[in-house]
């Protein structure tokens, strides 16, 4: 068995932080992705341009750069906002900056996944809703969205696996997740290989758990559909 020199609990706390970060970023990213997809498929020229620019620009710039920008680049902005609100010490914590940055990146890719799902729903369904006299938000909420999940789920699952691995980047701005905790342990014990390998296996474990969860979610979302293949 590997000797962790008493750093086991610290690594466990880091794992918990990684999970919290990934889920927060997921929530932000899902909202951004859904809004992005709606904007991109909108009839409104301005909205569709904004949606297109969002997904193109965010996907073309490294995730690490977004994390750094969100953390170091918002200091002045937050200070100005803090002065206005009467809270001069206002700043984004590493957790907030990390989850916003990762959510932004997840959302940009999710925009494309949701857009594909949106376009895959037959137009007749929307028209049927209109014929029944449903309002547009109601059609979206009751008819479009429930069907979109099933189509978007595999794509979103892949994005979540990527997101979970990208959480390691937030260690660069000092958030005490798995990687940061391992680095601290390495400094104390001078055993870099042991601790980074343990970190790698924690990530592998998280990936396997997420894969299993996705499998069940997909099965649940696809209930009532018979696969011909």
């Amino acid at each position: 068995m590997i000797d962790l020199h008493g750093f086991g609990p610290a690594l466990a706390a880091g794992t918990l932080m990684t999970i919290k970060l990934a889920l927060t970023a997921l929530a932000i990213g899902l909202v951004l992705g859904l809004s992005g997809a709606l904007a991109k498929t909108s009839q409104n020229r301005i909205l569709s341009t904004i949606g297109g620019l969002y997904s193109t620009i965010v996907r073309g710039v490294p995730e690490l750069l977004w994390v750094l920008l969100m953390y170091f680049g918002t200091v002045n902005l937050m200070r100005a906002l803090g002065q206005w609100l009467g809270m001069p010490q206002l700043e984004l914590s590493a957790f907030a900056a990390g989850s916003i940055a990762l959510g932004l990146c997840f959302g940009a890719y999710a925009t494309e996944v949701f857009r594909g799902a949106l376009l895959a729903i037959p137009r007749g369904h929307r028209e049927a809703g209109q014929a029944l006299g449903m309002s547009r938000p109601r059609i979206f909420w009751r008819i479009i969205l429930p069907q979109m999940w099933r189509i978007a789920l595999p794509g979103l699952g892949n994005l979540f696996m990527i997101l979970m691995k990208d959480t390691a980047l937030v260690s660069v701005i000092g958030l005490e997740e798995i990687m940061r905790r391992s680095q601290i342990a390495v400094t104390a014990t001078k055993e870099p290989f042991t601790f980074f390998l343990v970190a790698a296996f924690i990530y592998l474990g998280l990936t396997v758990i997420a894969m299993t969860a996705m499998h069940f979610l997909e099965r649940r979302a696809a209930r009532g559909f018979v696969r011909s293949a």
């Binding site: 073309g60 710039v61 490294p62 920008l69 959480t167 990687m179 391992s182 790698a200 990936t207």
Partner: protein, 230 residues
């Protein structure tokens, strides 16, 4: 926005972009070479041939690149045998560590692309080649590989863009690539927004040029034509 600062430091950022391109170019080419045997073995029908590449791909796709980078750059120094071995001059150098890690990482992804491409080849084409009396190896070189190249090229171009973005991690092991250079400049000027903006624009520009170049290559290789019949 302070444009003067951007203009003043732009040459240094370009220098960093040069290192970024160098890292990406070496790793995607070396990664492809490594991925070819991996991908072929991965799509084998014998489980014992499949098992080793499967484990390799599982590990490299299931863990963050940052962990892999730290394992190679900081990790291997834990073993005296490596520190006194012949490879130490390379494993001590952050540039070679980044190249080695990125190559191993991208090879796992490219191998999966190749496996998908190989399995997407209609079985009839392989049977036809066998019926014409081609040996297994001839079929592999004249039928399977050229077809897989065309089917897999669009996914490969995606992987190259992903590696361009992943190369930003090289800055965490002290390399002055585009991100590393930006961080160094910011430490001097305290202007994160301007410098990160300029660096981001350069990444976008590089990505745009790469996407265009792959479109031209796809056109040259008639990727669209080969997919029409399916």
């Amino acid at each position: 926005m302070n444009w003067e600062v951007i203009i003043k430091w732009f040459p240094r950022l370009l220098e960093g972009a040069g290192l970024t391109l160098e890292l990406v170019a070496i790793s995607v080419v070396a990664g492809l070479l490594l991925a070819i045997p991996l991908g072929i073995a991965r799509s084998s029908t014998h489980w014992y041939v499949r098992a080793l590449p499967y484990g390799y791909i599982f590990f490299f796709r299931g863990t963050p690149l940052l962990v892999q980078l730290f394992l190679v750059y900081y990790g291997v120094a834990q073993f005296d045998a490596i520190r006194h071995g012949p490879l130490w001059p390379y494993l001590r150098d952050p540039f070679w560590c980044a190249v080695i890690t990125m190559t191993l990482h991208t090879a796992a992804y490219i191998a999966e692309i190749l496996r998908g491409a190989i399995q997407a080849i209609p079985p009839g084409e392989i049977e036809a080649a066998r019926a014409l009396g081609m040996s297994k190896w001839q079929t592999l070189f004249y039928i399977v590989m050229p077809r897989a190249t065309r089917i897999g090229l669009p996914a490969y171009s995606n992987e190259v863009i992903l590696m361009l973005k992943a190369s930003a991690l090289a800055s965490t092991i002290t390399l002055l690539d585009l991100t590393g250079m930006a961080r160094t400049i910011i430490a001097r000027t305290y202007l994160p927004v301007e410098i990160f903006f300029a660096a981001g624009m350069l990444y976008l520009l590089i990505a745009y040029v790469l996407v265009r170049a792959f479109k031209v290559l796809e056109h040259k290789l008639r990727v669209d034509a080969s997919q029409q019949g399916r």
